[in-house]
């Protein structure tokens, strides 16, 4: 059953194992050096943000590069007073629902494009294809007129529903399914499986990598949403993290601390990072698979 995943597994295994000519090369110390340098450079801003999270304003403005003792105070402010956890919960809910919904709809649509014939398919396909080039950002205002003003949505519904269909996901699955040997669906039909059974018993089990890959990308997309919730969600208890972070920043007529803001920023970056680390392997092979022609 699990043909493609095994194939991928095998190819990964070969990349890992059989490499005599490379073993003859000198030790790959240079790779470590380049990686470490790269990580030092890309990691410095994150490190500095984490350091600032433990500082008071005066220390920040005196360029102190080592952690200090204000973490507990900043923590209190961010967690209890500004209620970051509440925003976190909102974002987790939105991201999970949106991502799951996207994966489900995209899976169905991808399946319809690959395993079925119906009149006007090219038209429908074009209809979806064109939306790849229609970024929601440029239409945010018109979308607000529809969702915010006409439908009067202002919570999870407004954050999730308009984005639950994904052209990217549809194409990911379409490509993925196209690479599946035709014998598989033929065999399923000979066995008398209906399309639903085929989807459930055959397609989904061999698609976990692609689903995971989509999940990682879309989770990040949902997590990082900023402009749209900023416009449409005015109820403070429903705001997602990126908008909630704004309340940790201050601009009015006084110097407020960077410490809490940076603490918030670092904390907010953790969930997507955890998702990525947990699904790293599936993600890698999921996208590797879709590359196949």
């Amino acid at each position: 059953m699990d043909v493609k995943r095994e194939e991928a597994g095998i190819s990964l295994a070969t990349t890992a194992g059989r490499r005599p000519w490379r073993q003859r090369l000198p030790k790959r110390w240079y790779a470590h050096v380049i990686l470490i340098v790269a990580i030092l450079i890309t990691g410095f801003p994150v490190y500095y943000a984490a350091v600032v999270a433990t500082q008071s304003n005066t220390q920040i403005f005196n360029y102190q590069l080592t952690p200090s003792t204000y973490l507990a105070r900043n923590w209190d402010l961010v967690i209890y007073e500004r209620q970051l956890p509440r925003y976190m919960v909102n974002s987790v809910i939105v991201a999970l629902v949106m991502t799951t919904g996207k994966a489900a709809l995209a899976l169905l649509a991808g399946m319809a494009f690959v395993f079925f014939r119906f009149p006007g398919k090219w038209l429908v396909f074009g209809f979806v294809l064109i939306t790849l080039m229609m970024p929601t950002e440029v239409m945010a205002i018109a979308l607000f007129r529809l969702v915010g003003i006409r439908l009067q949505w202002g919570g999870y519904d407004a954050m999730v529903v308009p984005f639950i269909a994904s052209a990217t996901g549809t194409f990911l699955f379409r490509q993925h399914f196209s690479s599946i040997p035709a014998e598989l669906s033929e065999a399923a039909q000979i066995d008398g499986a209906n399309p639903l059974q085929f989807l459930w018993r055959v397609l989904i089990p061999i698609s976990w990598n692609a689903i995971a890959a989509l999940f990682v990308i879309q989770f990040l997309y949902a997590w990082n949403q900023y402009l749209w919730p900023l416009m449409v969600v005015q109820e403070p208890t429903l705001r997602p993290v990126q908008v909630g972070l704004r309340t940790m920043r201050s601009g009015t007529e006084t110097g407020d601390s960077f410490g809490p803001l940076m603490l918030g920023a670092v904390l907010v970056s953790l969930p997507p990072l955890i998702v990525f680390i947990a699904l790293q392997k599936q993600f890698m092979s999921g996208f590797a698979l879709t590359r196949d022609k």
Partner: protein, 454 residues
């Protein structure tokens, strides 16, 4: 048949859920009515407001006042408009002075005088608007009506780090543009030595431009600064306007004005001053609380003086800045009463005085000033008096009353941008301001097309 029945039941249920909130009206201690208010502070000033809201909710258990905090007034206004358009506005919003005309045009709010309707008190909270200081009442009374309830009023003043000034041998604070330049020249050795990063900072923000315009007794828009009739011209190419921008540019070119490169960078400016990288700052008197506290913690002595003016033109007066509290129109009468009572409580004599003490905003009531004097507050904290003196000494003219027009918020940003362009490019000041004026006029024309009845 069964289907029809099902549909009818569903419709009935839907109807009931729609009616439910209406039936549950009437505020009581068991089911307190929520009053949401948007506040444009995130720091200790917000905490102060939260404490007052809690006190009020304790006094009136039938109300629950919730405050939401915003980083700045612009974001707050955006949020309010968006939630209005979504049909779910909060009951109270804090609106900065430049939004006044827009707020009236928008039709979102009910004027305070209409709610009070001539009463002396609302739910036991005294009204007494005669107690409000004249500079505030003249700004916010429009067509004889109180549009909103005054809360925080400020004016820009100059703060100096006396320790650093002392190091350079400066013993008097500058009060004019010319004196600032002399002082900065005296401080230059410290800059060269790397002790400080520059001489003076103020946020690049149109507010300062407006203040300097008023100091030179010049209007920002036509038709009596918008107070005689709706204006249709923004005046950015007057001699006074060009004078300000030119001075800005000269100060920057001389290396005296330390620009962070970010417009409206209030916090950056204060932080640079607080961390002793810059010896002088001009910013809102509302920063006094934070600045003085920070200075005490770090053993710095702070001196304050008026917002510096051009000695060659002279000083007429300054305009107030700050914000007032507006009540949404169309509220349930019970909630409206509660909201008004809260605002009156919020700005009563004791609260205005305590608000001044923690923030540095000017007390808006004469009785509060009297109370503070009685307590000996000003003697112990002379830096907190500077703003009141500046506003108190201001002559009331058309220019110092401040402009009223619908696109004030946007025009401010255009001015801020023009000043940045003038400082950072070689462009001619007059040309830059002419372009800015044209842009502002187009906006105003468009605004009038949409808001003004023919």
């Amino acid at each position: 048949m069964r289907k029809t029945f099902l549909v009818l039941t569903l419709l009935l249920l839907a109807g009931l859920t729609l009616l439910a909130p209406v039936q549950a009206q009437g505020c009581s201690a068991d089911a307190p009515c929520e009053i949401d208010a948007l506040i444009g502070f995130t720091d200790h000033r917000f905490d102060w407001a939260v404490e007052r809201a809690a006190e009020f909710s304790a006094m009136f258990p039938q109300y629950q006042v919730n405050l939401e905090s915003f980083g700045d007034y612009e974001i707050l206004l955006d949020s309010y408009i968006l939630s209005q358009e979504q049909g779910n506005p909060p009951e109270i919003m804090q609106l900065f002075e430049v939004g006044t005309q827009f707020a009236i045009d928008s039709g979102y709010f009910k004027p305070a005088s209409q709610i009070i309707a001539g009463r002396d008190e609302v739910l036991g909270q005294a009204v007494d608007f005669d107690d409000i200081i004249p500079v505030v009442s003249s700004y916010y009374t429009i067509g004889g009506d109180w549009s909103s309830v005054a809360w925080n009023t400020s004016t820009p003043i100059l703060y100096a780090n006396l320790n650093i000034l002392g190091e350079a041998g400066v013993d008097t604070l500058p009060t004019t543009w010319q004196e600032v330049e002399t002082t900065c020249a005296q401080l230059q050795p410290l800059v060269d030595a790397g002790t400080v990063n520059g001489c003076i900072v103020w946020p690049n923000h149109g507010w300062f431009f407006e203040q300097w315009l008023a100091q030179q007794n010049t209007e920002l828009v036509n038709n009596g600064n918008g107070r005689d009739a709706r204006p249709d011209q923004v005046l950015l190419t007057t001699d006074a306007a060009l004078n300000i921008v030119q001075w800005h540019k000269d100060m920057y070119n001389a290396g005296y004005y330390a620009y962070s490169g970010v417009q409206r960078d209030w916090s950056g400016a204060v932080q640079a001053f607080n961390s002793q990288q810059l010896p002088m700052i001009m910013t809102s008197s509302a920063s006094a609380g934070g600045i003085v506290r920070n200075a005490t913690e770090n053993g710095v002595e702070i001196g304050t003086s008026n917002m510096v003016y051009d000695d060659e033109v002279g000083w007429t007066g300054n305009i107030l800045g700050g914000a007032t509290m507006w009540i949404t129109d169309g509220l349930d009468p019970d909630i409206e009463e509660g909201a008004m009572a809260f605002l009156l409580f919020f700005s009563n004599t004791e609260n205005s005085a305590s608000w001044h003490q923690i923030s540095g905003y000017v007390p808006v009531r004469n009785s509060s000033i009297a109370l503070l004097e009685e307590q000996g507050w000003y003697e112990a904290n002379p830096n907190f008096l500077t703003a009141s003196i500046q506003l108190g000494d201001s002559q009331v003219t058309i220019a110092t009353q401040g402009a009223i027009f619908g696109t004030f918020v946007e025009t401010r940003n255009i001015i801020t941008q023009a000043i940045e362009d003038a400082m950072l490019t070689d462009g001619d000041v007059a040309e830059i301001m002419a372009a800015a004026e044209e842009e502002a006029n187009v906006l105003l024309e468009e605004y009038n097309l949409l808001y003004v009845d023919e």
